[in-house]
């Protein structure tokens, strides 16, 4: 049984932040969960899907974040507790619903978890989702530790019901994807029944009246935040420097102050309710210090809000010096780290800490510079996307009209780099490849002669590309959509989607057929296997040259990692060392230098190619690449 489902109050277990959030919701008695996968949020619904049957609750992978939020809001309207989870980009998708939901309010506890990705480690953007709390006049919670992630999620449901509002809970990568000790509390024994009270319709009318009620509610929320045990101060009564921090910044600040041994000089006000601010608590501590440093991830949200509060009370508070992102004391972009906070404190307080002997540091850095090769990202061994981009590159070259590829969100985004032969030329939001193609496909009358190709993964297609395709077909646009169907949401951990015929909990579901959808829209649809390089190249070329309007080519081949979970190699691969001519071949190392599958290795000593049997998945595609047929495949 998964750790998050253990009914063992008092037991301490090691949980990932996302699992702790899931556990907190279970302890609060939440019964409905919905999400669309997106790192760093994916394991919230992912971990719940493993225990949903045993604990008898509903969890689903919704088609996108807006639908996920609507599904959970329905549960709330019917009096049940529910939670939806998403990454920062997901909240943009769901924002339209959220900014009406704030006006209608809700009944059963409703928690919206947004996991931000500072530094864009696994995102196309670096975005601070907290601004939506201010935009929507909604309470915002920011846990700092794994234990708090669980406890504050549980508390958020109570708060939501007390205020009749959805609560935003913001996590970041270093919380969601960190693990720590968590002391479990009891799971509830009783389940409420669902009923929608029609005498209390959820209508945002008149909007101005609802907006006013929302503002009053937010004031009430501020008063509740004042007494939250998750806001506290640690340090001397009148600190030389006051750090105001939240989220991951708390542990970094604490560590920096402890390591520099300046606990007697610096105080830390740790806030976990960052909108609305606990005004009295903040004012009380502002009064005690003349210099303030803000430590938070991504935007100066806390920093600006505290300064705004200060501006209203500056006559009582007197002069202050504020340090943070605005002054460049804390980097305005990228992840923050304990080192960033340490360095800010060293500058502000004129202290210094040598992390290690300088002579050692010099030697260590030198060793890396001399010996350690860089490790660029690339498609996995046997990934169908590599074969797909190979076919795209060849087809576009054969077509000869400077055709280009519009990209989308998924593993295949690596198509912008060497692993995908630099074929992909745009990448924005979910479904934007198809949307941009719909636009490019209208430009022929203005002189565009280049063929337009969009790539889109299967999960991305259902999420946001379908409306673009409908619009393109309706407006008689002209482009080729390549649907890279690898039977999973591979980038985020192989979650099932509407095309897989399985639900989040692994039950059989109606399979929403990609081909049938495209055909229903009146698009021409072909299907090919990307591992058949020749056939795929020909299919792409044919569709580029021979048909007008919206064309779709479904490239169907299961994700290599997914396949390897149940099936070993398809082929055993070998390089015939007699046949491989190496540097003398004239192919200029087509297999290793250009095709770049990690299973193929250029051996500098022999000047020939070999196969690494620990990495090769035996897809057999490289056998088609070699001009002298030195790469052999044999059924495994």
């Amino acid at each position: 049984m998964s750790l998050i489902a253990q009914d063992a109050p008092g037991k301490t277990v090691l949980l990932m932040g996302n699992e702790a959030i899931a556990r907190g919701a279970l302890e609060a008695g939440a019964l409905v969960f919905a999400a669309y996968p997106g790192n760093p949020s994916s394991e919230i619904a992912g971990s719940l899907s493993l225990v949903a049957d045993a604990l008898d609750f509903h969890v689903e992978w919704s088609v996108n974040e807006k639908v996920a939020m609507e599904v959970v809001a329905a549960a709330s309207f019917a009096g049940l507790r529910g939670l939806c989870a998403m990454k920062q980009n997901g909240l943009n998708v769901a924002a339209d619903f959220l900014l009406n939901l704030n006006l209608t309010g809700c009944r059963g506890g409703l928690v919206v978890v947004v996991a931000d990705d500072p530094g864009g480690i696994s995102s196309t953007n670096e975005e601070d989702s907290r601004i939506f709390a201010k935009l929507g006049d909604l309470p915002l919670l920011e846990p700092s530790t794994i234990q708090e992630a669980k406890d504050m999620t549980r508390w958020a449901f109570t708060l939501s019901e007390e205020l009749g509002l959805p609560i935003l809970l913001r996590s970041v990568t270093r919380l969601s994807h960190a693990r720590g000790n968590v002391r479990l509390d009891p799971l509830p024994r009783t389940a409420p029944r669902a009923r929608f009270d029609t005498s209390r319709p959820r209508l945002p009318f008149p909007p101005v009246f609802c907006h006013k009620a929302l503002h009053q509610n937010l004031d009430r929320s501020g008063a509740l935040m004042e007494s939250s045990p998750y806001n506290f101060y640690r340090g001397p009564e009148k600190p030389e420097l006051l750090i105001i921090t939240c989220g991951s910044g708390w542990m970094y600040s604490l560590e920096a102050v402890t390591t520099l041994e300046i606990q007697h000089r610096v105080g830390i006000l740790k806030l976990s309710t960052t909108w609305p601010l606990p005004r009295n608590l903040v004012l009380k501590h502002l009064k005690q210090a003349h210099a303030i440093l803000f430590v938070e991830e991504v935007d100066p949200f806390l920093e600006n809000n505290v300064k705004e509060l200060f501006a209203q009370h500056c006559i009582d508070l007197g002069l202050k010096r504020f340090h943070g992102k605005a002054t460049g004391t804390i980097a305005s972009v990228g992840e923050i780290t304990p080192a960033i906070v340490t360095s800010a404190l060293e500058d502000l307080l004129n202290v210094n800490l040598e992390p290690r002997p300088p002579e050692y540091a010099r030697k260590a850095r030198e060793a890396v510079a001399q010996l350690v090769p860089s490790r660029a990202l690339g498609f996995c061994a046997g990934c169908p996307h590599r074969a797909t981009y190979w076919a795209i590159k060849r087809a576009l070259a054969l077509d000869g009209r400077e055709g280009f590829v519009l990209g989308d969100i998924g593993c295949y985004g690596l198509g912008m780099g060497p692993s995908g032969f630099s074929q992909m030329k745009t990448i924005h939001a979910m479904g934007s490849g198809a949307g941009l193609a719909a636009g490019f496909g209208q430009l022929e009358r203005f002189g565009l002669t280049q063929p337009v190709v969009a790539v889109c993964g299967d999960s991305t297609f259902y999420h946001a590309a379908m409306p673009a395709l409908v619009s393109a077909r309706y407006n008689t646009s002209n482009f080729l959509l390549l649907l890279l169907d690898n039977s999973a949401t591979a980038m985020t951990g192989f979650q099932p989607h509407p095309g897989t015929g399985r639900t989040a909990t692994g039950k059989e579901a109606h399979r929403i057929d990609l081909k049938a959808i495209c055909e229903a829209l009146g698009a021409r649809v072909d299907v090919a296997d990307p591992f058949d390089l020749k056939g795929t190249t020909e299919a792409i070329l044919r569709l580029l040259q021979n048909a007008d309007g919206v064309k779709a080519l479904i490239l169907k081949r299961e994700c290599a990692l997914l396949r390897s979970k149940r099936q070993k190699k398809i082929y055993t691969m070998e390089v015939d060392q007699e046949r491989c001519l190496g540097e003398r071949c004239g192919c200029n190392r087509l297999c290793t230098r250009v095709f770049r599958c990690p299973g193929l290795q250029w051996d500098r000593a022999t000047g020939k190619t070999g196969i690494d049997e620990a990495i090769c998945t035996g897809c057999g595609v490289c056998a088609e690449i070699c001009p002298v047929s030195a790469i052999k495949k044999e059924a495994a």
């Binding site: 270093r174 991951s248 992390p355 010996l371 090769p373 490790r375 990202l377 049997e613």
Partner: protein, 204 residues
């Protein structure tokens, strides 16, 4: 066992797909079961796509620490791939660090393509030795391949780690964690991997 320092900072370095995250989770849960307070940070961005991957594991008797270890603060390095170990030492190393390394290289894309070179293994190990207080090695991938699947190399590394006596982990604690976290049908193989690692590890 009393920890040499508090927090005691462990970094598990390697390449995406080597089971780094699972190894850190199993090590962490085993230590939690022994009463320690653990914080783990995963730098996972490239986890499935051949990039360099690290887990930061902080072991304390008292309280949680931040999930990121700072420059020069690594006490124990578990390196699933030789140059990745060296990469970690470059920023996190210090004269007191104890290193355990696998000996099997995973060539980066640029090395496979012939654009850059992977250094001689002996040179990498010797450099790791110069930058560590002690170095232990185990041929984890080779052993795992004889077991039929390279994925066992992370369990072999944990077995090796248990034999070094720097952290309070033993076979019994490992088994409890494995039973709790992994599919039971692989229990026997994982235990075998652990035992083999414990026997095969050597101090240089």
């Amino acid at each position: 066992m009393i920890l040499a320092r508090d927090p005691f900072n462990v970094i598990i370095g390697g390449v995406g797909g080597q089971g780094n995250v699972v190894a850190s989770q199993i090590l962490g849960q085993t230590l939690v079961n022994k009463g320690h307070v653990i914080t783990i940070g995963e730098t996972y961005g490239a986890s499935q796509r051949g990039g360099a991957v690290m887990s930061h594991l902080r072991v304390s008797a008292k309280n949680p620490w931040s999930p990121l270890i700072s420059e020069g603060q690594c006490d124990l390095l578990v390196s699933l791939e030789p140059v990745e170990g060296l990469r970690v030492l470059g920023y996190y190393g210090n004269p007191r660090v104890i290193t355990l390394t696998n000996t099997r290289p995973v060539f980066p894309m640029d090395v496979n393509s012939g654009e850059s070179a992977y250094p001689e293994l002996s040179e990498v190990i010797s450099k790791i030795g110069q930058l560590s207080a002690a170095v232990w090695v185990v041929h984890a991938t080779e052993i795992a391949l004889t077991m039929g699947d390279p994925i066992y190399s992370n369990m072999i590394m944990l077995g090796a780690l248990s034999a070094m006596g720097v952290l309070p982990i033993d076979r019994e604690g490992f088994e409890v964690t494995i039973r709790e976290l992994l599919h039971s049908h692989r229990l026997g193989d994982n235990l075998k991997a652990f035992d083999t690692g414990a026997e095969a590890v050597k101090r240089l």
